[in-house]
């Protein structure tokens, strides 16, 4: 049967089921787990799940006891959104949500558990909001139900934080108000533009004018308040930011218009005023592109579980909240659970996967008595450990007490617009003063008119829009090419970079593939076949890697197979005996402790040789480095030993600095030191251990093989598949800066035209009403077209 089904894929999860195909209901499944899910669905008439999308499921991971902490009322209270006598509501984050089938099945949960009254999916955020009656069911039951159908929720320490996350919608309100007022004011101001001395029009002028005044009040008082606040803050810090001339413009517009209509001098500039604020807010809104499925603010809390199991006595185990763990507590870590604190392994077989921390995917074996560091994930069975520290004092979590994590990078950065605005404001104020003095002598009655007109027309609306629209658009283009940036100012920072620092493991090396070389006595065909079949039975990560590298062989049934945990495997077939594993295990004395990872092989107790594993580097690495070296200083900071030094020397340009054995804090300090020497650093990392370095650098980008899984706090997340495009992204961000500069020039041109009308004292409301939107719109058009053109070169 196995021959026919070689290309078969699992009906439920889409994995290939070559080895262990299970036929059920004329469909093939890769494992019992998937089959069970199918059974659950077909019993409840939910098989439409498989029609919406082919093989949408995930292999369910059922882990008894993992969610025991959900019984704890204190923890439960923090997780629930709503809780009364009969109904509870909880929002759960489910990483697997990825297609329409997922939405469909999760919104039909009530068919699987009748106590669930409703469930609603937010696809972008990958969350499901479940309402249920808790008399006969509990959150634990709901979570376990989700786990059994392959949608295990991810509940982390982050969910335990106090206070529900508040969604800030003030931006939409402000935009709504400004847009609403702008539209109405436009209609009301229109009749007067034609200036016909029509009897009825003159009659109703005051009504129209005061209505416009009423509409513009909420705009000035509410919608524009961010500009006032920012200008005030800027002035207090003695910085003339772009919001200073904007605020002056808004205030002068409003005050002059109000005076004009009270004294019946004219219709005022209410349409220009509301239009200006509407366009400005539109720019801000456009810049605020957020990727709701990504988070750029993650710290260790997003990785850590809420609770673990504490062993109180031989017979009693209780769930304990992570923050309550004290030194000396005995903890039970189950398979696939995270180690929350530094501690000592007491018993059990520990195989710790530190990929969250270092990016290294290969599990590390530990013996009882060994030290375990927080952040590792246990991958084989349960272990017992004793806590040596509290959570916040652990080696990994200590990093977050560094003050770099409290700094706001965006605030410290003076952007291009504000640099220009300083000179701009000074120039405008002097023009206003000069022209007013001239008119004071020439025709004093017009002096005030000219003074305010200059301030109105020079209000740098177009100038303020140039950067948000260019960078906002660039942000979207980058997003399409799988580089997701936190905000638009990162693009500006990227353009100024002169040093690029890479992490090694997981960043320039890929997690998926590994290469190995063999040295020793060549293996005979029968030995190779035996080796391949032996590896087939072993679940050790190195065995799996080696199994994939070796060429295909017939599948044979071994006479004996024995796995010695932490040492290696032994197998025999037709009197041939093979041992695969550590040097000691196969009976070879290692004289020099090798830095490289290798697997030794002996056949019938004769030592044959060893496979040495090398990191496999991402494709295009060497080319990328050679391109980058012309404009940037390059360095590699690795937390690993020097095993790869020679290999890296060969493929990278000679100027590249290579530093090994770097602790998380060393990386941070290294970057800090270079920044004091004027370096503008872009750091590319992937693990939690790079967090400090990512925060310290001007631009910290996390590289990820799967953007949906966790990456540390950073300014941007890059999909590993576009790693080789790094230089193109840097070039594109430089082009974006150029576009902004050109549009500054364009908007200055408009200002000059406006200033002509203002200085000569002939600024009529209708001119302002035409010139201001015209300049804004043409800037928006120019920047959008130009940045799309620049983005097109990103192939």
């Amino acid at each position: 049967m196995s021959k026919i089904s070689e290309n078969k894929i699992c009906y439920h999860c889409g994995n290939s089921c070559d080895d262990t195909e299970i036929i059920f209901d004329e469909k093939s499944f890769c494992c019992n787990g998937c089959k069970t899910v199918y059974e659950i669905f077909s019993e409840s008439n939910l098989t439409a799940y498989y029609d919406l999308q082919k093989s949408p499921g995930a292999i369910p991971k059922i882990n008894e006891g993992k969610f025991n902490f959900l019984k704890d009322t204190q923890i439960l209270e923090k997780l629930l959104e709503f809780n009364d006598e009969s109904i509870q509501i909880a929002t759960l984050y489910i990483p697997h949500i990825h297609c329409s089938s997922c939405i469909w099945i999760l919104e039909n949960l009530h068919k699987l558990n009748s106590e669930i009254t409703s469930s609603q999916v937010n696809f972008n955020k990958k969350t499901v909001r479940i309402t249920y009656e808790h008399k006969n069911t509990s959150l634990k039951d709901v979570v376990i139900l989700l786990s059994t159908i392959g949608y295990e929720p991810y509940i982390s320490l982050d969910d335990y934080s106090d206070g529900k996350k508040h969604i800030n919608r003030s931006m939409i309100y402000k935009l709504g108000i400004a847009g609403f007022a702008f539209g109405n004011v436009m209609f009301l101001s229109f009749p007067e533009y034609f200036e016909v001395n029509e009897f009825w029009l003159d009659q109703y002028k005051p009504v129209f004018r005061w209505l416009m005044f009423a509409f513009s009040l909420p705009v000035v008082l509410y919608a524009a308040q961010d500009y006032f606040i920012s200008a005030f803050k800027g002035l207090r810090a003695k910085i003339l930011n772009i919001d200073v001339p904007i605020t002056i413009g808004i205030l002068v517009l409003f005050i002059r218009s109000t005076i004009e209509i009270t004294l019946d001098m004219g219709q005022g500039f209410f349409d220009s005023l509301t239009g200006l604020i509407f366009f400005l807010l539109l720019g801000k809104f456009f810049q605020q592109k957020t990727y709701s499925f990504l988070s750029f603010e993650r710290d260790y809390k997003s990785y850590f579980p809420i609770a673990v199991t504490k062993i109180v006595s031989e017979t009693e185990e209780i769930p304990i909240q992570i923050y309550d763990i004290k030194k000396g507590d005995r903890l039970l870590i189950r398979n696939e659970e995270l180690i929350p604190v530094d501690g000592i392994l007491i018993n059990g077989h520990a195989s710790i996967d530190y990929s969250f921390v270092t990016g290294e995917s290969e599990a590390i074996e530990k013996k009882s008595g060994d030290k375990l560091f927080a952040g590792g994930k246990q991958t084989s069975g349960s272990i017992e450990m004793e806590a040596l520290k509290e959570v916040k004092q652990s080696y990994l979590t200590q990093l977050w007490s560094h003050d770099i994590f409290n700094k706001n990078k965006e605030e410290a950065f003076v952007n291009l617009t504000n640099t220009i605005s300083k000179r701009f404001t000074v120039a405008i104020l002097s023009i206003a003063v000069l022209s007013t003095t001239f008119w004071l002598f020439y025709d004093a009655s017009k002096a005030m008119n000219v003074f305010t007109a200059v301030l109105i027309i020079a209000c740098p609306c177009a100038l303020a829009l140039a950067a948000p629209f260019t960078f906002g658009n660039m942000l979207r283009i980058f997003g399409k090419h799988k580089l997701y940036l936190k905000n638009a100012s990162v693009i500006e920072q990227m353009a100024a970079i002169n040093t690029i620092i890479f992490d090694k493991t997981g960043t320039i090396t890929s997690n998926k593939k590994s290469t190995a070389t063999y040295d020793g006595v060549p293996l005979t065909d029968s030995e190779e076949r035996l080796l391949k079949n032996t590896l087939r039975g072993s679940n050790h990560p190195l065995s799996r890697t080696l199994y994939d590298i070796l060429k295909a062989n017939d599948i044979v049934t071994l006479d004996s197979f024995e796995e010695h945990i932490g040492q290696g495997v032994q197998a025999s077939l037709n009197k041939d005996d093979i041992k695969v594993g550590s040097a000691n295990f196969v009976g070879k004395k290692e004289l020099v402790k090798s830095l490289q990872t290798s697997v030794h092989i002996s056949s019938n107790n004769n030592y044959k040789g060893k496979f040495t594993f090398y990191n496999s580097y991402r494709t295009g690495l060497s080319k990328l480095f050679n391109e980058l070296k012309q404009h940037y200083d390059l360095a590699i900071l690795s937390g690993d030993n020097e095993g790869e030094l020679n290999n890296l020397r060969k493929i990278l340009p000679t100027k590249t600095k290579l530093l090994f054995n770097q602790k998380p804090k060393d990386k941070l300090e290294y970057i800090k030191y270079h920044q004091t020497e004027g370096a503008k650093v872009l750091m590319l990392g992937d693990g939690l251990n790079d967090s400090g370095a990512l925060a310290q650098s001007e631009v910290g980008i996390a590289l990820s093989e799967n953007i949906n899984i966790f990456s540390p706090a950073c300014d941007g997340i890059m999909d590993a598949s576009v790693f080789h495009k790094l230089e193109q992204f840097l070039i594109a961000s430089k082009r974006a800066i150029k576009i902004v500069k050109w549009s500054f020039l364009l908007s200055l041109l408009y200002n000059l035209i406006g200033l002509y009308f203002a200085i000569t004292g002939q600024l009529a409301p209708v001119i302002a009403a035409i010139l201001m939107p015209l300049s804004s719109i043409s800037i928006v058009v120019f920047t959008t077209i130009a940045s799309n053109w620049a983005g097109r070169k990103l192939v």
Partner: protein, 62 residues
Amino acid sequence: MSVIYILLGVSVIVAILFFIAFIFAVKSGQYDDSYTPSVRMLFEDELIEEKTTDKTILTKKE
């Protein structure tokens, strides 16, 4: 011609009513998730098919 007061009053009130509706829509979270509803609205049919004809339609679709 003083009817213009009524006209203005009505038009402004209607406009404000729409504006209030918009504010409430934002407040209730309608604009928070702009993707899922577009998928959700296509689901109803599958459920009915499932209940009435069960498997015959499923095999046709495949």
